[in-house]
Amino acid sequence: MGWIGEQIDSIKSLQFRQVLTQAISLGMIVTSALIIWKGLMCVTGSESPVVVVLSGSMEPGFKRGDILFLHMSKDPIRAGEIVVFNVDGREIPIVHRVIKVHERQDTGEVDILTKGDNNFGDDRLLYAHGQLWLQRHHIMGKSCWIFAVCRLGDYNNDRKAYHKVYTHRSFGVASDYFKRMRVEKFVLETSKTWWICLSHFVD
């Protein structure tokens, strides 16, 4: 009995170590993703430094699924720049081009009007009811880098359906693999999806 018991113990400890190694490497992936994300936040000064474009309102410049790197500095906003802004009562921020800027003499406050390159009219219809201009606090960042080489997957025209399907699918895959502790495949799946999980979406 003693010999068999030893063998079982050694197998048990081996499996425990393997599981531990896999758990640690998994933790490393997650933390490194988080470190990069937070690091980008510090460097760029934007609260969501990486965003994925969901709509075609800026075509042909930005297509659906392009990844944008944002940057937020104290530099003034000027006509022609592409900014990401929040509108009150709207969940998803919008990335559009600035077409009008009026900057106050005394306070330095700005009134900004935007328009999507592919849209017919300006964005007043998208703003909150009665809002004519964007102010500085609506702006989340200016887009400064674009990464359009790997368009992330096939996009449904309906972005909500896309959002739901894609995030659910990737989380489903993630939890599946997590259960089975198949770290090597999980790495593949995570590296593909962690950008999406961490990235924000803009219209």
Binding site: G80, H102, I146
Partner: protein, 161 residues
Amino acid sequence: MHSFGYRANALLTFAVTILALMCAMASLSDNFNSPSPTAEVQVLNINWFQKKPDGDDEVSLTLNISGKLTNFVHMEYKAAEYETPKNELNQVSLWDGIIPTKEHAKFWIHTTNKYRFIDQGSNLRGKDFNLTLHWHVMPKTGKMFADKIAMTGFRLPETYR
């Protein structure tokens, strides 16, 4: 050790590294490209110039824009810039366009202003303004960059018409 998963992972990592390298090289090569675009604009006519019922001035212009830019996809902006007692800077886009290919990089356009030229207030009579051609290069991958040519010495009439 040599399971399918490991091999696929190694292959993917390698492919992504190469892709990242190529993207980095492509965006670095932008630095060697120093375009020297030229542009010219004429204000052919002031179609009308009025005070809107809410008190803001509005102008309609006919512009003749010609230019030679580079062969990138870029957006191009003709903006009027002026100063008023209330606002330190006013930038109003009057027209824009997209140049998708090299063939379209040389252009000549006769147009009225595409976006409305409205002031915040009633300060446009006899106002000096600049017309600036901005262009924003939109690469497939890499840093977006912008430049401009400013043309000075335009003036709006003293009276509404």
